[in-house]
C-alpha cells in the first residue's frame, strides 16, 4: 500500500463527499468572479460582509437539514420552527422577560418539536415527509398563537432600549474582529457540527443509516436514537436562526422563516448532500449556501428581478440532484456488475 506517497490533492479528493463539495466551491468561485466582472461592486468590502451575513442563516439551517438528509429523511418543519423560535423569544421579551430566560424557553420549545419529529419518524416509522409536514403546521400554528395572531411590538418595549440593542447586536448588527457576529455564530456551529458528523460515533451512525438502515440495525446501531438526534440538531439550528431573525427585525414576525426548510434542502443539495441518504459532507452545505447567496446577491447587484433569481436557483438545484443521481446509478451499477 503506497498510500503515504499520495499527493495532497488526491488525498483530499479521496475524502468521501469531497467531490460534491469541491464542485460547489468551484461553481461558487466562477459565479462570484462572473458577477464581479459585470459589477465590480460585488467585490467591495461592504458587499462581502453583507454576503457573509446573509449566507449565515442559510448555512445554519442547511447544517440542520443536512444531518437529516444524510440519514435519508427530510425535515419540513425547519421554517416553522424558525418562526416559532423568533415569536416565542420576541413575545417573552416584549413582556419584559430577561432575554436569556426568553432564549432558554424558546430553546426548550424548539427541542420538543425535534423530539416529536424523531419519535414520529424513528419510532413510529411515519414517512418523514408526512410527519414533518404535520409538525410544520403545528409549529407555525404555535408561532401565530404565541402573541394572539399578530406580530409582536418592538422588543425594546418590554426589556428596554439597551438590552434590546445588545440582543440585536449579538445576533445580527454587531461585529467582532471586523466581521458580523451572525457569521461567527454560523462558523462556530459549522465547526462543532462538522466535528460531530465526521469524527464521532453518532456521525458515523448517521451515514450508516442513510446508506443501509437494515445493515445498521443488524450491526447494533440504535436507529431510533440516531434519527432523533438528527432532528434535534435540525430543530436546534432552526432555533438559532429564529433568534437571528428576531435580532434583525427587533421584533417577532409570525411568518419568519417561511420556506426556509426548502432553502435548507437546496443549500445542502447544491453542495452534494444526497437527498437519498448516505453521502455528503457539511463542507458541501457551506459551499451550497454560499453559492445560493452569491447568486441572489449577484443577480441583485446586476439588477435582475426576484423572478429571475428564483428561476436560476431552481435550475441549479435540479442540476445538482441530477448530477447526484447520474453518479449513483452510473458509477455504482457499473462497478457492481463488473
Amino acid at each position: 500500500m503506497n498510500q503515504k506517497k499520495q499527493n495532497p490533492i488526491k488525498k483530499l479528493l479521496s475524502v468521501r463527499g469531497m467531490g460534491g463539495a469541491l464542485t460547489a466551491f468551484i461553481g461558487l468561485i466562477i459565479i462570484y468572479i462572473a458577477f464581479g466582472i459585470i459589477n465590480p461592486n460585488v467585490f467591495s468590502g461592504q458587499n462581502v460582509m453583507n454576503l457573509l451575513r446573509s449566507m449565515s442563516k442559510y448555512l445554519i439551517i442547511g447544517i440542520g437539514q443536512s444531518y437529516v438528509l444524510i440519514t435519508g429523511n427530510i425535515d419540513l418543519s425547519i421554517g416553522s420552527v424558525v418562526g416559532m423560535s423568533s415569536m416565542i423569544t420576541a413575545t417573552l421579551m416584549t413582556m419584559g422577560v430577561n432575554p436569556l430566560v426568553a432564549i432558554l424557553i424558546s430553546f426548550c420549545c424548539c427541542m420538543v418539536i425535534g423530539i416529536i419529529n424523531g419519535f414520529l419518524v424513528g419510532k413510529c416509522q411515519l414517512p418523514p415527509f408526512i410527519a414533518t409536514l404535520g409538525t410544520m403546521f403545528v409549529a407555525r400554528g404555535i408561532a401565530y398563537m404565541v402573541n394572539g395572531n399578530r406580530n409582536t411590538d418592538a422588543i425594546a418595549s418590554g426589556i428596554g432600549k439597551e438590552p434590546a440593542e445588545s440582543f440585536q447586536n449579538v445576533f445580527y448588527y454587531g461585529q467582532t474582529a471586523g466581521v458580523y457576529n451572525t457569521f461567527w455564530i454560523a462558523i462556530i456551529l459549522f465547526i462543532v457540527f462538522f466535528f460531530l458528523l465526521s469524527k464521532t460515533r453518532t456521525g458515523r451512525h448517521i451515514y450508516a443509516i442513510g446508506s443501509n438502515v437494515d445493515a445498521a440495525k443488524l450491526s447494533g446501531v440504535n436507529v431510533v436514537a440516531t434519527v432523533t438526534k438528527t432532528y434535534l440538531v435540525s430543530a436546534f439550528c432552526s432555533f438559532v436562526v429564529g433568534l437571528i431573525l428576531c435580532g434583525q427585525a427587533s421584533m417577532g414576525n409570525m411568518e419568519a422563516g417561511n420556506m426556509y426548510e426548502m432553502y435548507a434542502v437546496a443549500a445542502g443539495v447544491i453542495g452534494g448532500i444526497s437527498p437519498l441518504g448516505g453521502t455528503g459532507i457539511l463542507l458541501g452545505t457551506l459551499a451550497g449556501s454560499a453559492v445560493w447567496q452569491t447568486l441572489e446577491n449577484g443577480l441583485n447587484m446586476i439588477g435582475a428581478q426576484v423572478g429571475i433569481q428564483r428561476l436560476v436557483i431552481g435550475i441549479i438545484v435540479v442540476f445538482a440532484v441530477l448530477l447526484d443521481v447520474v453518479v449513483r446509478n452510473g458509477v455504482f451499477k457499473k462497478k457492481a456488475t463488473s
Binding site: R201, R204, H205, A208, S211, G220, A336
Partner: protein, 504 residues
C-alpha cells in the same frame, strides 16, 4: 468433539399466516462445522435469525455457553459471541471496508473515532484471512464477491465463538471459496462452532462434521456426516408425502406453439432453450434463486435481455417491454401477486381492464364502460371468482381469488402463452386445486402453459414435462410421469463445479 455451546429447545415462531418454526431443537458443539439443511421454507434461516437476535422467538428455551438467554438483540448476540453472515448482503455501500467492519462498535478515544486504529485492525484481520482489500475502500465500489468477503471479515472481527453462515458461497469465486474453507477449518481448530447453511450439497464434504435436517418448520434429524450418504440426506429433506391431490388431465400433444432460444439476461438467466406444445403444461422446478423468476421476467420483457429469440406459432416476436409481449399474446402471472400482479387498492373491474384498455377505449381514449363491465363479468363467470360485485377492491379477495383476477385480466384478450410464476404460494389447498383446474382448462383450450413452482409435488402432479433450473441454467428436462423428487432435487443442486473434489 467439544462440549455443547448452543442448545435450543422447543423453539416456535409464527409469522402472520405461517408457522415458520414448530418446536424445533438445535444443538451446536464447539470445534465443529454443522450443516443445517432443508428445502426452501424449511425454517433454517428463521432459526438462525433467532439465534443471532434478528428475530425474537414466540416460545422455547435457548442456551448459549451454558447460560440461559431470553430475547436477544443483534447487539447482545454479538457481545455473547454469536455472529451471522446474512444471505442477503447487508453492507452500507457508502462506507469504507473498515467502517463497515466496525459499524455499531466503533473504537474511539474520548468521543473521537479513532479511524486509524480501526483501519489497522481491519487490515490485520483481512491479512489474517488473506483477503486482498484496502480497508479504506468504499464498499459500494467492490464487486459482490468482495463485499461478501467483507461481510465474513466483519463477522470474524468480533471474535465470534459461534459463527453462522447463510449461503456464504453463492457469490464467491472458486478461489474465494477455497479461502473461505481454509478460514472455516482454522476457526474450527480454534474451537469455534460453525453453522453452515447451503443448498450446494457437493460443498459439504469438504468441511462438514455433522448435519441437522429441517423440513416444513420442524426438526427432522441430526447425524454425523460420515455416517450418511447424499441420497439419504436428500430423502430426509424432501421426505414428506404428497397430501394434495393433483387433478391431471391428459391431452393430445399438438403442434409447437412457443419456443425460447438462447435466452441470456444477466447471471441468473443463461442460455435458456425450451419449447411448449399445444396441450401440455411445462413445469419449471428448482430451488430458490435458481433463476426461474428471472427467466419469466426476461421472456415477458420486464428485464432487458442480452440475447435470445422468442418464437410464437412459428414466427419470431420482438419483446422489448411487457406491452410487446402482451400484444403478441404472451402473458405473465407474476410471483408476488400483491406487488407485481395486482393493484390491490383498485377494484376487480379496474384490475381486469388495466392491460386491456387498448381494446376497451375508443379512439379518444375514453373507456367504454359497457364493454368493460361485460369483459369483467365474463371473467368472473368463467374463472368462478367468488365476489359479490366486480366493484370491490382486489385486496379484499382471498389469495386464490386474487390469483384468478390476475389470470382473468390476461384471458380477457386471446393470449397464446400464459406463464404462471408460483401461482399457489400462500393460498389454501382448496384454492390451489381450483388454480390447477384453471391451468388444465387452459391446456385443454390449446393454450401453452408454463408453470413455475418451488413446490416439487405440485410441479410433478400438474406439469407434463419438467425443466429443472439451477444457478441460471437449465440442468435437466424430464417427463413428469415416473420421476421422483430425489431425482429432481439432484438436478436442482447441480451447481457448476466451483471446487475441485477431494475424492479420488
Amino acid at each position: 468433539m467439544g462440549e455443547i455451546i448452543v442448545s435450543m429447545e422447543d423453539i416456535c415462531k409464527s409469522f402472520p399466516g405461517v408457522k415458520a418454526l414448530d418446536h424445533v431443537k438445535f444443538e451446536l458443539r464447539s470445534g465443529e462445522v454443522l450443516a443445517l439443511l432443508g428445502e426452501n421454507g424449511a425454517g433454517k434461516s428463521t432459526l438462525m435469525k433467532i439465534l443471532s437476535g434478528v428475530y425474537t422467538r414466540d416460545e422455547g428455551k435457548m442456551q448459549i455457553f451454558g447460560k440461559e438467554y431470553g430475547d436477544l438483540s443483534p447487539k447482545l448476540a454479538q457481545e455473547v459471541g454469536v455472529a451471522i453472515i446474512h444471505q442477503e448482503l447487508n453492507m452500507c455501500k457508502h462506507l469504507s471496508v473498515a467502517e463497515n467492519m466496525f459499524l455499531g462498535r466503533e473504537k474511539k478515544r474520548g468521543i473521537i473515532l479513532s479511524n486509524h486504529e480501526m483501519e489497522q485492525e481491519a487490515r490485520r484481520i483481512l491479512d489474517d484471512l488473506k483477503i486482498d482489500l484496502d480497508p479504506k475502500q468504499t464498499v459500494g465500489e467492490l464487486p459482490v464477491s468482495k463485499q461478501q468477503m467483507v461481510e465474513i471479515a466483519k463477522a470474524l472481527s468480533i471474535n465470534a465463538k459461534v459463527l453462522i453462515m447463510d449461503e456464504p458461497t453463492s457469490a464467491l469465486t472458486a478461489k474465494e471459496i477455497e479461502d473461505l474453507f481454509r478460514i472455516i477449518k482454522e476457526l474450527k481448530a480454534k474451537g469455534c462452532g460453525i453453522v453452515y447453511i447451503s443448498h450446494r450439497l457437493e460443498e459439504l464434504q469438504h468441511i462438514v462434521d455433522r448435519v441437522t435436517i429441517m423440513r416444513d418448520g420442524q426438526y427432522i434429524t441430526s447425524m454425523n456426516f460420515a455416517d450418511v450418504t447424499m441420497d439419504e440426506i436428500i430423502a430426509y429433506m424432501v421426505g414428506r408425502e404428497i397430501k394434495e391431490k393433483f387433478p391431471r388431465v391428459s391431452c393430445e400433444k399438438g403442434k409447437k406453439i412457443f419456443e425460447v432460444k438462447n435466452l441470456n439476461a444477466g447471471r441468473m438467466v443463461r442460455d435458456i432453450n425450451f419449447s411448449v406444445y399445444e396441450g401440455e403444461i411445462v413445469g419449471f422446478a428448482g430451488l430458490m434463486g435458481a433463476g426461474r423468476t428471472e427467466t419469466t421476467r426476461a421472456i415477458f420483457g420486464v428485464d432487458p435481455k442480452e440475447s435470445g429469440e422468442i418464437i410464437l406459432d412459428g414466427k419470431e416476436v420482438k419483446v422489448n417491454c411487457p406491452m410487446d409481449a402482451i400484444k403478441a399474446g404472451i402473458v405473465l402471472a407474476p410471483e408476488d401477486r400483491k406487488k407485481d400482479g395486482l393493484c390491490t387498492k383498485l377494484s376487480i373491474r379496474h384490475n381486469i381492464a388495466l392491460p386491456n384498455l387498448d381494446l376497451l377505449c375508443n379512439k379518444l381514449g375514453v373507456v367504454n364502460r359497457n364493454k368493460e363491465i361485460e369483459m369483467c363479468k365474463k371473467a368472473v363467470k368463467n374463472l368462478k371468482i367468488k365476489t359479490p360485485t366486480v366493484e370491490i377492491d382486489a385486496k379484499n379477495l382471498s389469495g386464490g381469488n386474487q390469483q384468478k383476477v390476475v389470470v382473468g385480466k390476461w384471458l380477457a384478450r386471446n393470449s397464446r402463452v400464459v406463464i404462471f410464476d408460483e401461482p399457489t404460494r400462500g393460498i389454501d389447498v382448496a384454492a390451489k386445486v381450483e388454480i390447477y383446474n384453471l391451468m388444465n382448462e387452459l391446456k385443454k383450450q390449446g393454450i401453452a402453459v408454463v408453470f413455475v413452482s418451488s413446490e416439487m409435488p405440485e410441479v410433478m402432479g400438474i406439469a407434463d414435462r419438467i425443466l429443472v433450473m439451477c444457478d441460471g441454467r437449465i440442468t435437466g428436462e424430464v417427463m413428469a410421469e415416473g420421476i421422483t423428487q430425489n431425482e429432481i432435487l439432484t438436478l436442482a443442486t447441480q451447481f457448476e463445479k466451483k471446487i475441485v473434489s477431494d475424492e479420488k
